[in-house]
Symmetry: C2
Subunit: 762 residues, 2 copies
């Protein structure tokens, strides 16, 4: 049993490391040399450039900050993070980011009042009972006295907990409802206020049947000219650019090596660098590096040209997938929401994702394969889920060092070393879990890609869904139930349905302290690590030293990253689960969660403003996902609560709680019905209104030329780019790698509010 | 334990009664006096009239059949039933009826090959083992030796059953797939080939928001003129005619009494009939009947006139519901499949049901109420489901007379009377269940009406869904598990999930003989009763004697009835469950089910051709419902099989079966995706093709005048009708109630194929 002092050590370690990260961050961000690591967003928006502050003079002050005044305001970044108002934030970083930040606010809005109420009502009720003093069956720490475990079986005090269940459920529903409504209105407002976007006019058509008599392009055109005669404008059949994309990718790598050796040569012209021909330059024949890469690059450039020409000309490279555009938003809305032919597996239409959001690779998957792929992935996920639990449970057992050392004698000395023991107890279990979970999202994203979703946003939502199941099963249930994974699974199957809630209800109370540790390691420390950006910091400086030749290269080296929705959202959902679960059982957990939400809000707001560059804009399409998951958390809590009360032999009061899940489910259905269509459909009235307005404002708009080539596989553009790049390079290689080269400040658009912001932020 | 001789008695009773019903039917249908009871369909189509066969001469031969030749061909009706080819049947009775008949054929197609295979493979395998001879734990009858119960635990013979599981599942899926495809094509072909129907152009719009500035009608018109500018034609706002409908209904009743007394007076002019003023004429003041009813009718006519005027003029009688029609099918398809405004709870559009199919009463339910109504009904259904089981279980316990008489001594003599005992054992349990279940569909339909569905077809599907759950839980599980309803429920909750399949698998084999009895009572006997039409026969003759004055009255008295999909389909689904379940466990059940399907097919085909008059045409909209339920039956069988094999300690082979439910579920998803849209959506390409064709064929069609007033509450027309009726009656009462009055045969449309049919059928 984890004791209070273990907890104190763990808290001390985690708080210290979090504070240390923050201090390092506060110092590093002031150094101009790191400017592109901590403010890449502004560089991408062309609103910040090196040295502008120093009036263009090159000096050591461009590398490190010598101005002592700056160090007096180490914590200014928190102020900066909070300063920008929300509408400006939406304009600056997009709606997805703004809505993402609202999740943290939602957490605060939920849990702060819940904690206050718990502290006033439940603490006195729990603390003044004395079950834990009477019984010697359980080991317990002082914190447990504040939890429901201290209330005697069958006590009338449990009525207070039942009332709180109703109050909490009501409160959560009210807050969730308001937030859903607000997010929906933000989404609609955003779509309304936005500039024209090609995806408003475009529909993605999949599984176009082959017509033996005409080409694919003509077939698409005829079909839509006939069936949407007043609306059809143009179409772009998708070409299979996967092979070309691979070649371009390979060329980029070679180009990097080429640059590296060129720079090496320039620095030391006397010594021509050599390389080996085989894998990673480690084996094979020794050759002159620059000659070798020049040759390889030339070969590849020819290959790319051939492949590009082939893909663009060959009708076999055409996929039965097309982006079809319409004259107005109304026409596109109609085409996206209706069935086209009597065979519902061909001419499948759906809203086209934003051009940036398209995951081109999956467009080449035949529709018939999709069902099989999904089935296979579902089975794979099931096995992954349950075999993954074995190492977790092993690490879990470490946390109970006392029990372990009783069995294994050589652990005894470790346990006697007070500090080491506390360290192991408090820090290790959470950390090991963390490392496991770090590798997971990539795997899940890979699985989702195999499932064949065609946009990044849907891929991320799908991954997030899997990850949430993972977190709930492995972290939450995996911590509550002990035993190996297969034991747990067979327990679940062999126990009666009425026993499972009791088991959860019973053990969940005893695990509060473990979850406090988890929150500190996974929550606090990792958020602090997030703001430090250690990996991008190192990568940037490495690239800047070895690869960067031009301003554009430096821009490429920045790696601003983006909010990984597929990693972050499930984690937040887990904290919602913990918060909702422990609000009644052991409210002492809530302050830790509140600190997590508050701290995360601050850090992510700062990062959104200064760092992240979102790959796409889905206008908050992830909210229904989040809302549903929070409702699931609430249901898990209610069922556990029923189970717990049943074991506390509160027979009279337990049936009172059965109404709660039913009401919650009804609330969920209502919300789904009320709000979800706004996230998946484009209402005709809105579409018509925007079309009419546009026609009045811009009567001579040529929609055809606006839409031409908007949905083109980016690799075709890139292939062109790299062509011109390499030619440029061949003709005129830069003489010196420009580190922090100074350029005339390109004039910043003066009238925009963003300019004022830059001034404020510098 | 039911023995073989019990079974024989039961089979004898049921077969005899079924044959008796058939004989009576064969005799009655030959009597001209019953012509309107057994051939109402032809009268409604104006293709048959009394006395046409006898060349218009009134004689006793118009009442009973004196032609002895007719009696030689008693069984001709079976030939008649099978003679009409399917396309003609569709034209004659509609697609719903034709597809309904295919369900029975589907049963035959499934179970005949399954029985043959079982008989060849499983009978020898089961019969040559000897578990039941070894063990004395179970009482068993000879039939059980052919079932899987006779195979020893852990025997290698069980591999045969596992193989059969795969073969059967594969066969069922193949047949279901082909049938679904066929039905879908029939539906699409039917819609294609059909004449213009108003519901193809019309969309039902619900929850229209109130606009304070304009009337509801104008608001609807403006909304659709703006958002569907090229397609909108007209709209019909629905008026609340519920009160008027009640008044009209009441008037019809009074009119019936009035007619009754008028006829009484005419027969015996010396004696003026009297009645009492209160409930049903049983209490209250004695008054002259004709004066009293004349007065009452006059009052009611005035009331109806006032109410009708009020409803038609008062804007408050307008409901926020409208039928909106479009210029073409394309426009209607677009409006029906898209979301109209950003608030998804207003301007809800859906396909309008056929005018005959609209359930007007529910159109007045506010949309916000619907969620609550559904929730309440779900809870009510849950309670109904589990408290309903108490009487069933009581009756079940009767079947085990032996066990009962051991406890209750005075039952001993009954058990000793061999025949009575067998009768009770074999006949009573099924009969009692049957009486219970007879009352149920009406209740379930009532519950579905409360849920607020707005078309008869959806009401029937909804009721059928509930009834299916009922049948599965009460008849199937209720027979398998013994004990009271609450015991069973608590068993289910307290048993572990892995035990439930074993329990089912274990007991299901022992219940085979009970289900044979059930099939004979519920299936065979009730189908024979169906063709006899005893209730309509009596009612028709009563009405014909006491109420009928004119030819139109006689038409009204016919009551052809229709196939009650909400009663029949769940029953058929239960037989599918039994068939699929016992095909492996105890294949001896299959012949009984095959006889049921064959006999039903014959009887219903006869009835569809000669009797039933469908209230509406949904073009087979119930098929997805049926398909899903059969898949559910298959899943229940697979899970029971896993449980059974687990208890037979076939540990190695059982896991082989776990793949089956997963495959079945995948098959279901595929079918859903592939076929279901054809039952809920109108594809745009089809709509456009039909529109284009129509425009070419009828360029001057005035669609507006075609659609005008198609969606009008029938009560407004009826109110008019009854007005004119009563006036007509007041002015010119017929002097004599015309029984079998002869009229000049109205000329039958000569060119149609139907005429030839009539000749053939007379």
């Amino acid at each position: 049993m984890t004791t209070l002092s273990d907890l104190a050590v763990s808290a001390a370690i985690n708080t210290t490391s979090a504070l240390a990260f923050l201090l390092v961050f506060a110092l590093l961000r002031l150094q101009p040399i790191n400017d592109r690591v901590y403010f890449p967003k502004w560089y991408l928006k062309c609103k910040r450039q090196e040295g502008t502050k120093r009036n263009g003079a090159r000096s050591v002050s461009n590398i490190i900050n010598l101005d002592w005044k700056g160090y007096l305001h180490l914590l200014d970044w928190t102020k900066e993070a909070l300063k920008m108002p929300e509408p400006e934030l939406i304009e600056h970083a997009g709606l997805d980011s703004a809505i993402y930040l609202r999740i943290y606010l939602l957490g605060l809005r939920l849990f702060v009042p819940m904690f206050l109420l718990s502290a006033i009502v439940l603490f006195p009720i729990n603390a003044t009972d004395d079950k834990l003093q009477d019984s010697h069956r359980f080991l317990f720490s002082n914190i447990d006295k504040l939890s429901i475990s201290n209330v005697k079986d069958g006590s009338k005090r449990l009525w207070a907990h039942i009332c709180m269940s109703y109050i909490f459920t009501g409160w959560i529903c009210v807050v969730l409802f308001r937030e859903y409504e607000k997010v929906m209105l933000m989404r609609l407002g955003f779509n309304d206020a936005q500039r024209r976007r090609p995806d408003h006019f475009t529909v993605l058509v999949k599984n176009i049947p082959i017509d033996p008599d005409e080409s694919l392009g003509l077939h698409v055109e005829h079909f839509f000219r006939v069936n949407h005669p007043d609306n059809y404008v143009l179409h772009q059949v998708v070409r299979n650019g996967n092979k070309l994309a691979k070649l371009v990718q390979k060329k980029k790598k070679l180009q990097n090596w080429m640059d590296y050796y060129n720079i090496k040569l320039l620095k030391n012209p006397a010594f021509r660098p050599t390389t080996k021909t085989s894998y990673l330059g480690l084996w094979g024949e020794q050759v002159d590096a620059i000659d070798y890469y020049t040759k390889e690059l030339e070969d590849l450039t020819t290959q790319i040209k051939t492949e590009r020409k082939k893909v663009l000309d060959d009708p076999k490279a055409l996929l039965p997938v097309a982006f079809v555009s319409f004259k107005g938003r109304w026409g596109a809305a109609v085409a996206a929401q209706t069935q086209q032919t009597k065979n519902p597996t061909v001419w499948l239409t759906e809203w086209a994702p934003e051009p940036r959001d398209v995951y081109w690779r999956n467009l080449s998957i035949p529709v018939v394969e999709l069902t099989i792929r999904k089935l296979v992935m579902a089975v794979a996920f099931f096995f992954l889920l349950f075999f993954f639990m074995i190492p977790i449970t092993f690490v879990q057992s470490l946390a109970n060092l006392k029990g372990l050392s009783e069995k294994i004698s050589f652990l005894k000395p470790i346990q006697d070393m007070k500090f080491v023991s506390s360290f192991l107890q408090g820090f290790l279990p959470g950390l090991a879990l963390k490392i496991f979970l770090l590798l997971l999202p990539t795997l899940l994203m890979f699985m989702s890609k195999i499932e064949g979703y065609t946009s990044f946003s849907s891929l991320e939502r799908r991954s997030a869904g899997k990850y949430f199941i993972f977190l709930v099963v492995t972290v939450f249930f995996g911590s509550i139930f002990t035993g190996t994974a297969s034991q747990q699974l067979s327990n679940f199957v062999n126990e009666s349905p009425s026993e499972i809630p009791s088991t959860i209800g019973n053990s969940v109370g005893q695990k509060a302290l473990f979850f406090v540790t988890y929150i500190m390691v996974d929550g606090w420390a990792s958020i602090a690590a997030e703001i430090l950006r250690l990996q991008p910091l190192i990568l940037f400086h490495l690239k800047n030293t070895f690869l960067v030749k031009t301003e554009r290269d430096r821009k490429k080296a920045m790696h601003p990253g983006s909010i990984c929705l597929d990693r972050n959202i499930p984690k937040i959902e887990l904290y919602f689960l913990l918060g909702i679960m422990y609000a009644e059982l052991s409210p002492i957990l809530l302050p830790f969660i509140i600190v997590y939400f508050g701290f995360s809000y601050l850090v992510y707001r700062y990062q959104v403003i200064n760092v992240y560059d979102q790959r796409y804009e889905s206008a908050g399409a992830f909210w229904p996902h989040l809302h549903t998951r929070i409702i699931i958390c609430l249901l898990i809590q209610q069922i556990s609560m029923i189970g717990l009360l049943a074991t506390k032999s509160a027979d009279k009061s337990t049936p009172m709680l059965i109404v709660l899940p039913i009401l919650t489910h009804t609330f969920h259905l209502y919300c789904k019905n009320r709000f979800e269509p706004a996230f998946s459909k484009y209402p005709l009235a809105e579409a018509m209104a925007k079309d009419t307005l546009e026609r009045a404002v811009e009567p001579h708009l040529n929609i055809k030329s606006y839409l031409q080539d908007t949905y083109m596989h980016p690799v075709f553009k890139e292939a062109e780019d790299t062509d011109s790049d390499s030619e440029e390079f061949d003709q005129d290689p830069p003489l010196v790698p420009l580190k922090h080269s100074l350029q005339d400040g390109t004039p910043v658009p003066s009238a925009s509010s963003a300019t004022q912001m830059i001034i404020r932020y510098q």
